[in-house]
């Protein structure tokens, strides 16, 4: 009870003190505002980047396991993977066979070729050799025409489905369907145009600048044995089934490659999970450094508050004496000043958040990068500013609290 009454009075004094010195408080708060803006904007920017990454990574599919020659994320042992064999189309077809009826398996090969339609040329376009199962894995479907059919793959047809941006660039006026284009030196017939995918803010591949052709045709046109490297996507029924599926895939691949038990896998299993993990750890380090740097400005702001609190304590020495003479304990005086500095800083924090909200809008409007303020960020900004206030107020408040009552009363 006593403590509660004490807290109430301390809060009341703190509010009184801050409102009595508005101009001084405002100047002091400026340092905290700048510090909080710096920190929240760092967090908002990183939050925005993370969101963009998730969006971009979303097309990979959380329930899909990819079998590839290389791991997506290599830290430093690149050389152990260098001598691995490519995954051949033959091996991929074996995998399709093995999982028929159990899981959807889709092999793909990536390459880059120039694209040409009459006088329009696009250099260095991403060509994806794939099968009719691709839409089941990535969710991408054509908006016009059709996607690949089993017989396209089986009979190595020269047909292509083009991304939305390619359609717009290569066929500014005409309807692309059934037109014949050149992929490298080879002639392919356009049978479909994919839906716009968008969502490319992270600087990842532009999914609308791709051309899909049958994987068999890809190998026929562009694949020597050496540059044919297939990625195999296997879609699990559910996230929960992934662990088992992964074991089965590894087992099947080893069987196809006739690996002896003592031999290591000479292929890699990749998942969105591992990519996210790698992203998060790199990202965490970058964010950590950013926060370290920006928090320096917050510390400088805190030093300003400490300075003002020393002034406030000195100004109110006599008041401290009066309060102590009628029964205030050290604790009460300590709280009074701690609340005052915490209040100054929280006010600064709130103003800083308001400013950050504004800045976020501006940044996003310019489109330079995406920033995103979450309620969590705002809440932690308030908590951090309160902590800065308490830390900054500690030494001055302690100085005030330990005045001998009689000395404080005599102070002029």
């Amino acid at each position: 009870m006593k403590l509660l009454v004490d807290v109430g009075e301390s809060l009341r004094i703190a509010v009184g003190a801050v409102t009595a010195n508005k101009a001084r408080g405002a100047l002091t708060t400026l340092g905290i505002i700048i510090g909080i803006v710096a920190v929240t904007m760092t967090l908002a920017a990183s939050n925005g980047m993370q969101q963009s990454f998730r969006q971009a990574a979303g097309s990979i599919g959380a329930d899909v396991i990819y079998v590839s020659r290389m791991p997506w994320v290599t830290i430093n042992d690149f050389f152990t993977f260098r001598n691995r064999p490519n995954i051949s189309l033959y091996e991929a077809e074996k995998m399709v066979e093995a999982f028929t009826g159990a899981a959807i398996v889709n092999p793909t090969i990536f390459g880059r070729q120039p694209l040409k339609y009459r006088s329009e040329v696009l250099q260095d376009v991403a060509i994806v050799g794939t099968s009719e199962k691709m839409p089941l894995i990535s969710g991408q479907v054509p908006e016009d025409g059709r996607f690949l059919m089993p017989f396209d793959v089986r009979f190595k047809k020269n047909v292509a489905i083009i991304g939305k941006d390619i359609a717009e660039n290569l066929f500014p006026a005409a309807d692309p369907l059934n037109k014949t284009i050149n992929i490298g030196p080879y002639r392919y017939q356009v049978i479909g145009v994919m839906e716009k995918q968008g969502g490319n803010s992270f600087g990842g591949p532009n999914l609308d600048l791709q051309v899909f052709i049958p994987i068999t045709s890809f190998v026929k046109s562009f694949g020597g044995r050496r540059n044919t490297n297939v990625n195999i996507a296997v879609k699990a029924d559910s996230i929960a089934a992934m662990k088992n599926l992964e074991f089965e895939i590894i087992g099947e691949m080893r069987r196809i490659r006739k690996l002896r038990p003592a031999e290591d896998d000479n292929f890699s299993i990749n998942k969105l999970d591992s990519l996210m993990g790698a992203f998060n750890s790199v990202f965490g380090a970058v964010l950590g450094i950013g926060l370290l740097v920006t928090s320096i400005s917050l510390i400088v702001g805190g030093i300003g508050v400490m300075n003002i609190m020393f002034v406030s304590v000195t100004e109110r020495t006599r008041e401290i004496g009066i309060r102590k003479a009628i029964g205030a304990r050290r604790r009460s005086i300590l709280m009074q000043f701690l609340f005052e500095s915490a209040l100054i800083c929280v006010l600064g924090g709130i103003l800083g958040i308001c400013l950050s909200i504004l800045l976020t809008y501006v940044v996003n409007a310019t489109g330079a990068f995406t920033a995103s303020l979450s309620p969590g960020i705002m809440l932690s900004a308030v908590i951090v500013s309160a902590l800065v206030g308490i830390v900054a107020g500690l030494v001055p408040a302690y100085k005030g609290a330990k005045f001998a009552p009689i000395d404080a009363l005599r102070y002029e």
Partner: protein
């Protein structure tokens, strides 16, 4: 009131010494003061400037700590207490009235009087009642929301008295309570202290003026940090009491 009953000693000082160090020089503000004061006594402390009156009052009020000597207040040895226990004693047992009032300038009168209750942990609802009652006793019930700078000196001192008595302490200490007031206002304030004494309070005050000291029943004279004389006015007070 009832002089016939056994008197209870509230305040016992033994050989109190207080020295100040000023650089290499030692100033002996009190040099061995011994003194008993009983419940419901009315004591005036007099003496020339610099004789140690304020120093003694501050020690009695637990605002200052003697260099040596024993002091017990309401049966408790003050020397054994730590900071927050001393704060508690000041809060519960002592009501201080200063020459310069020492009110909080930014707080209104009601809040000034509530302050000891706040530090005593009295809940809000009770607090207001008690503070209003105390202000009523000093005749300022209609000024609750005024601030000290809107009041006259006499009114400020009355607020200070209300603040001193609001927690019903064991002793009221007044260091030259009329020192900053004209004689008429001063008399009002003394009348108030007289009333408190009549109601059973123990009152100790410091003054330079004989007619102020005349209000007290016992006059203590200090000189150079020692008690020079200690006179209780038996002739006037005891016969009245015995006549009952």
């Amino acid at each position: 009131m009832d002089a016939s009953s056994e008197k209870e000693v509230v305040l016992k000082l033994r050989n109190i010494v207080r020295t100040y160090e000023m650089g290499s020089e030692l100033i002996h503000a009190l040099c061995g003061v011994s003194l008993d004061i009983c419940r419901n006594e009315y004591v005036a402390i007099m003496g020339p400037s610099g004789s140690g009156k304020s120093t003694l009052m501050n020690i009695i009020g637990c605002l200052d700590i003697p260099t040596s000597g024993d002091y017990s207040l309401a049966g408790e040895m003050v020397a054994d207490k730590n900071e927050s226990e001393l704060a508690d004693i000041r809060n519960r047992l002592i009501g201080f009235v200063f020459q310069t009032f020492n009110l909080l300038p930014r707080a209104n009168i009601l809040h000034n009087v509530e302050l000891p209750l706040i530090y005593g942990g009295v809940p809000k609802a009770e607090r207001r009642d008690l503070a209003e009652q105390a202000l009523e006793r000093v005749g300022l019930k209609d000024r609750l929301t005024h601030r000290p700078n809107e009041l006259s000196g006499g009114q400020c001192q009355r607020v200070a008295i209300a603040r001193a008595l609001v927690l019903n302490p064991s002793i009221i200490l007044a260091d030259e309570p009329t020192g900053n007031l004209d004689s008429k206002t001063g008399n009002d304030i003394m009348g108030m202290l007289d009333d408190l004494h009549a109601d059973g309070q123990t009152v100790i005050l410091v003054t330079h003026e004989d007619d102020i000291a005349a209000h007290a029943k016992r006059v203590l004279r200090l000189r150079d940090g020692e008690i020079e004389s200690d006179v209780t006015k038996d002739e006037r007070s005891i016969p009245d009491a015995i006549a009952v």
